[in-house]
């Protein structure tokens, strides 16, 4: 029997859950392909496909989906609503699967999905089992594969935290970047920024790399009603690392309303720290970005008396 191919778009939640997804499908005997890192072309295709009012991250995501259409048996787009009350994700992640199905309905492309809604008692594990049922896979094997996937993800978390503490020990200006993983890790959006910081002798630190289990409780010190899991993690990251960094960059994609609200609150509540609120759109050059980053670094150095 020929191996079934599952395509995973390299966008949005991929950066957060890639280890779980890739391990899971590999363990189940699928061939996994991931779309290529974002380029200008991805952005152009994504923008042409989507409503222009959507956010840049969403446009890139559909650029990735489009690059997988026709290249695999299934494209995997889960619907993740929440991990319990007050542990929600952006409402956009509720809609992605149905959007893709509607956008590509003439193409004959098949999609795979599962839905996580723990508030309504549908956990990730149950939804994975549900998905496996539609593919006629034996439950026992799926359970084992899911276990392996979760374990692999825990390892990756540990590794990320390990790397983070190493970076914090390094010499040089430390800049905390508060952004979603799909913003900071994306080749087209966040990479040019982290690369520039490194080139300028600064050490980028990620605010979203924190111990996820304690993040919610910690974030309550900064905001009591923020219900978005990732933003809670970022806020807890700011609280945990603010003493050890020299400045914070609040990085979001145009026009993310959720980040606009949370960042506004951070700007108002986190005091006495140089902060840069940077909103990135699908620009084709990085000159403007570099000017802003350069002057931000200059201000910090000036404040420290190093300039």
């Amino acid at each position: 029997m020929e191996q079934i191919t599952v395509g995973i778009p390299r966008g949005l939640l991929y950066f957060r859950y890639r280890t779980v997804w890739k391990t899971l499908f590999k363990e189940l005997g699928f061939k996994v392909i991931v779309s290529e890192p974002t380029t200008q072309e991805t952005a152009d295709i994504g923008s042409a496909l989507t409503v222009d009012e959507g956010c840049l991250a969403q446009k890139l995501f559909f650029g990735h989906v489009s690059s997988l259409v026709g290249r695999c048996d299934y494209i995997f787009i889960p619907r993740i609503r929440n991990y319990g009350k007050s542990r929600e994700l952006c409402v956009r992640f509720m809609a992605l699967y149905d959007m893709a199905v509607n956008m590509f309905r003439g193409s004959g492309q098949k999609f795979l999905t599962y839905s996580v809604d723990e508030w309504k008692s549908v956990s990730e594990k149950e939804s994975v089992l549900e998905l496996a049922k539609t593919l006629d896979l034996p439950t026992k094997r799926v359970k084992a594969a899911y276990k392996t996937a979760v374990k692999a993800d825990e390892e990756r978390q540990k590794e990320l935290l390990q790397k983070q503490s190493e970076r914090l020990k390094r010499n040089g200006l430390k800049i905390l970047i508060a952004a979603h993983s799909y913003v900071i890790e994306d080749n087209f959006v966040g990479k040019p920024i982290t690369e520039y910081l490194k080139k300028s002798g600064a050490v980028p630190i990620r605010a979203d790399v924190v111990d996820r289990d304690s993040a919610f409780k910690k974030s309550l010190e900064l905001s009591s009603t923020c219900k978005w899991t990732v933003n809670q993690e970022i806020m807890s990251g700011i609280l945990s690392y603010e003493d050890r960094v020299d400045g914070i960059i609040l990085l979001s994609t145009f026009p993310c309303g959720q980040d606009a609200m949370v960042n506004e609150l951070i700007l108002r509540r986190v005091g006495d720290m140089p902060m840069l609120n940077l909103v990135v759109d699908g620009q084709s050059g990085t000159a403007g970005l570099e000017t802003r980053l350069e002057s931000f670094l200059d201000i910090i150095r000036f404040k420290k008396g190093a300039l």
Partner: protein, 357 residues
């Protein structure tokens, strides 16, 4: 004498009459009604808001400032399923930074899914509240909301065909005044009957097959006439029968639930795509099936759930061959652009009707 709070909420379509009823009759506090939304409200709201937040955040912030300046000492913030759930905390912070002093009761703080927490929220408004009284006033306020949505719906369906449009509008405005002034159940009932009676006495010149347009859209902007620059009134002025399922009572009180509504749109979406998405997709499909001449989709700038259902609406438009006009409202100052688009839309659906019928 005990201190009595003067409570306010942001302006929200014409629903403030129900808020007033519940707060004054059910919770024994004073309710303050700030002036209606104006360009000034939106301007001060937008001035202090982050740029990319959805427009209702800006409108409601402006309306809260106007309430505080009119003498309110307590603001109530509600919770919601989308960005709305975070409005309260950020708006409070912005108002505090501006120097306003007030008591803030943010229901997002009590939105835990547990009943006793919501009750704690109510007790914050008035610690001496009586549940029996609150329950009775609550039921009556819901009735008022139902009547409000019914009469408003009837008004926009028939206004364009009334022989005496002025009198028709007058009857509707009188009804709104009655609801804002209602002090008892009988006041509500009487006001409703009076309006029904007055409106039905005005003869209509409605053709056998009038132009019918279904309005769908976002929870705040689609219902609030100021926020959508009176789109429904403008359509009615042109002689269109305007329908809208999306009302506060339909979505909050009489909602058939995600599961039981989603089942009717399974060919378009497998999941609930957002808090109002299922209802709007279902409405659009229903209007299309009933042979409406067009659909108008109303949302505020940067409303995530409504942006995300647009690919589905486009498919419904293609499948049923029904024109859909997509309107996005931000802090604009003029309705000339809107008028041009609505006129073009009207001309198009009117011509289509002549060709098809």
């Amino acid at each position: 004498m005990d201190f009595i709070k003067t409570v306010a909420l942001p302006r929200y379509a014409e629903y403030n009459c129900t808020f007033r009823y519940i707060l004054e009759k059910g919770l024994d506090v004073k309710y303050l009604l700030q002036p209606p939304l104006t360009q000034h409200t939106l301007e001060i709201g937008a001035k202090y808001s982050p740029d990319f937040v959805c427009t209702p955040f800006k409108t409601t912030l402006g309306s809260m400032i106007e309430a505080l300046e009119a003498g309110a000492d307590t603001l109530i913030m509600i919770f919601g399923l989308c960005k709305l759930g975070y409005y309260g905390e950020l708006q409070e912070q912005i108002l505090r930074d501006l120097g306003y002093k007030f008591d803030c009761i943010n229901f997002s703080d009590f939105d835990t899914g547990r009943k006793k927490d919501y009750i704690r929220g109510l007790k914050r408004i008035n610690p001496k509240m009586s549940f029996a009284k609150f329950a009775v006033a609550g039921m009556e306020a819901i009735k008022m909301g139902d009547y409000l949505d019914e009469i408003t719906g009837e008004y926009y369906k028939n206004y364009g065909f009334a022989q005496d449009r002025k009198a028709y509008q007058h009857a509707y405005k009188a009804f709104l005044r009655d609801m804002y002034a209602a002090g008892s159940k009988s006041d509500i009932e009487e006001g409703y009957r009076r309006a029904k009676d007055a409106m039905s006495r005005i003869p209509l010149d409605k053709p056998l097959k009038p132009l019918r347009v279904g309005v769908i859209g976002e929870f705040y902007t689609a219902m609030d006439a100021f926020s959508n620059l009176e789109t429904e009134q403008k359509l009615a002025d042109m002689g269109v029968e305007v329908h809208r399922w999306m009302t506060a009572t339909n979505r909050v009180i009489h909602y058939p639930g995600e599961t039981n509504l989603n089942v009717k749109i399974q060919e378009y979406c497998r999941y609930e795509m957002g808090p109002t998405s299922t209802a709007n997709i279902w409405s659009a499909k229903t209007y299309a099936e009933k042979g409406f001449d067009g659909i108008v989709h109303i949302k505020s700038a940067n409303c995530t759930p409504e942006i995300d259902i647009m690919p589905v609406l486009q498919n419904i438009g293609n499948d049923y061959k029904i024109p859909i006009l997509y309107l996005t409202f931000d802090a604009q100052t003029s309705d000339v652009g809107l008028m041009t688009r609505l006129e073009a839309f009207y001309d198009m659906i009117a011509m289509r009707k002549k060709v098809i019928v």
